[in-house]
Amino acid sequence: MNPNKKRKIVPYLFIVPAFLLHACIVTVPALSTLVMSLFDWNGMNQAAFIGLQNFKEIFTEDKIVRLSVIHNIEWLLIFITVPLILGFVVAILVSQLRRSQMFFRTVYFVPYVISAAVAGKIWTAYMNPYYGLNQVFAKLGFENLSKVLWLGNPKIALAAVAFVDNWHWWGFIMVLFLGALQQVDPTLYEAARVDGANRFQELIHVSIPGIRQTIAFVLIMTVMWSFLTFDYVYIMTNGGPANATEIMATYIYKNAFVKYRAGYANALCVIQSGICILLYFFQKYVSKKGGLEDD
């Protein structure tokens, strides 16, 4: 083989194994199931073709779909603000430390390595109205606080689950930001200081632009994961009480495995992926416009 031709093939030899493995296990089966969204199928039987009937039901009749999308959006709003701001602020503060920096960031990251099954179970226990933190609140004299049903009250259950997921998640964001901050060219700070910038101005004009690519990455991931999230809700409330924490993923799960409506669940999956992909491109577009990203 002539070396030029070989040169052209090599990159494919590098990337194609990963692509093939992933395509065979994930994408192809996923596409095959996507077709099932056009069928009336209980997950086991011969499917009957019903065209867009499932989608019609999703958009016109099923109130819970709308509810779950709203919950996903609420989830997104929480996750695009709280952990990002918290992670960013703590990353800035920690980056100013010297000797103790390593210690702080190591501990902040620990919750991230814990499985959702364990973290969800532990926090469910802490949030139990009879033997959870409410007992501590009662002892400390916070009467009202001790009566809150963290996971039982439909008004706050979603926030309570999001709180736990955040507990596990923000340390990861913090470490990403911290890494990015340390990559920012120190001469830029010096230049800013020469120009008489104060700390705050430095932050706006040097730090944030310096880590804009990381911010873009975290934003994309947050947006997509907010619509895919499953673990914590499934473990802590399973969509309850009274659908107050129902999100796309748990509702899909229920349709596929509790209600025997696999075809319908697949139609919901199509919508879920569709939203994610749309958001991905939208986010990409906004990031580019807003200068968060090069090229």
Partner: protein, 452 residues
């Protein structure tokens, strides 16, 4: 349509084979392990294998099962490798069966559950086996009849059970409370219990929302009456009729007053529900006859007792009844005949069955020959509970639990939405109307269960 599916599965298989190849060539992930596995598979020889699914059990429960099921089976079928496999959730069992595998004998939740598998031809009709082994004469008619779907027998009833009112004797004694005899007594008592800072009826469904079916099955059966439900299922009545509405309104009122679950049932797990009752945090609970086994093993110190839900003054107390589950034969099995033989053995191995009831609080099979004499050695209160159950059957004072006698989709709807009614997010009228639409559908397509 058939071609389409075939084409898809071919595509998939092709894709997976490709991926295997990709895996094998790009990474040398421990070939040794694979060959070991093969060797182990072969050493099993030609011995036939039957796998029976079962629910989650802890070590002591498994040990008991070894004695009363595994060992006798091994003796009766020395040439067959019979294994019980635990499934801790429905999804894994369902994915397996849908994926063309799964255990030979499926332990399912009951007729409404079996119907979904039958609809898809995932379980085999057993009429020929029924004739061969004379199963029709083996079981109570109501239990046997409930196992039919579309005119064919698809499962065998594994146990019969019902809903009762448990009360904690120690708590009652401490407060000098009397065991209620009528509904009016009960309501008065619950107000008193609440006043004393104790939860009247322990309830929690945080980790299994469907547990609300214990409640609505009990309230409709006991306070609307079995005839009203029968009328609904035959199309003569509606689920929105005043009798049913009133009974469920009472359930909602009790919940709102904090009688059921202290206004926090959505945040309390099933395990906690029993724990609260056994530890005296609650005075009573509405639970199934199966709870005796949990109470006996986990809380042996708890002095509990049980009664049928008290009826209104001057009316008969109704015992809401159900079959606890059904054994069905997986359509994917290669040994259907053998599976049927194993099932027949399980239901006719009387000595071990009685022994398991006495020693390990197993639920009895709904057998016509069921002999109270044989279980004399069982815990006294459990024995009394069985007496209640038998009497109710003889006097025909039986009610209907949703997991045996309601159409599947109606039950799914009610299980998912009862909490919304409790929490005031869904009106009772809307809830009943929607439930009725599922009855209408079931009547229209002939899948509505036959009530005895």
């Amino acid at each position: 349509m058939k071609n389409m599916k075939k084409f898809l599965s071919l595509c998939l298989a092709g894709a997976m084979v490709l991926s295997m190849a990709a895996c094998g060539s790009s990474a040398d992930n421990g070939e040794k392990e694979g060959s070991n596995k093969d060797a182990a598979g072969e050493s099993g020889g030609n011995k036939q294998k039957i796998v029976i699914s079962c629910g989650l059990a802890d070590d002591s429960q498994t040990a008991v099962r070894q004695i009363y099921l595994d060992e006798p089976l091994k003796e009766a079928f020395p040439d067959v490798d019979i294994e019980f496999k635990m499934y801790n959730d429905r999804q894994s069992l369902q994915v397996e069966v849908a994926g063309g595998g799964g255990p030979d004998i499926l332990s399912l939740d009951g007729p409404t559950d079996v119907a979904e598998f039958a609809k898809s031809d995932r379980v085999l009709p057993m009429d020929s086996y029924a004739e061969q082994y004379g199963w029709k004469d083996l079981f109570y008619d109501w239990a046997y009849d409930s196992c039919f779907y579309d005119g064919k027998l698809y499962s065998l009833p594994t146990s019969f059970e019902g809903m009762v009112l448990y009360y904690n004797e120690d708590v009652f004694k401490d407060h000098e409370w009397e065991v209620p005899e009528t509904l009016e007594d009960l309501e008065k008592l619950m107000a008193e219990i609440k006043e004393a800072g104790i939860i009247p009826l322990s309830f929690g469904n945080a980790n299994y929302q469907g547990a609300v079916d214990w409640l609505y099955s009990t309230f409709t059966s006991c306070y609307a009456g079995p005839d009203s439900i029968k009328a609904v299922m035959t199309g003569e009545g509606k689920f929105t009729d005043p009798a049913i509405k009133d009974s469920l309104q009472m359930m909602v009122d009790w919940w709102e007053k904090g009688y059921i679950g202290d206004n926090s049932s959505q945040a309390v797990t099933q395990e906690d529900m029993i724990a609260f009752f056994a530890e005296g945090r609650a005075a009573m609970m509405i639970n199934g006859t199966w709870a005796t086994s949990q109470l006996g093993t986990i809380y042996p110190d708890c002095n509990w007792n049980s009664i049928i839900m008290p009826a209104k003054e001057g009316e008969d107390a109704i015992f809401p009844l159900a079959t606890g589950g059904g054994y069905a034969i997986n359509a994917n099995t290669e040994n259907a005949d053998l599976a049927a033989e194993v099932l027949n053995f399980l239901f006719t191995d009387y000595d071990n069955h009685y022994a398991s009831i006495v020693d390990a609080n197993y639920q009895p099979y709904p057998l016509k020959t069921f002999d109270m004499e044989k279980i004399k050695g069982v815990d006294e209160k459990v024995y009394e509970q069985y007496e209640l159950l038998m009497d109710a059957q003889v006097d025909n004072r039986i009610g209907f639990c949703s997991w045996t006698f309601y159409p599947s989709e109606m039950r799914v709807y009610m299980n998912e939405n009862t909490d919304a009614v409790f929490l005031g997010e869904l009106s009772l009228d809307e809830y009943l109307e929607k439930a009725q639409t599922y009855v209408d559908e079931a009547i229209a397509d002939g899948s509505v269960p036959i009530l005895p």
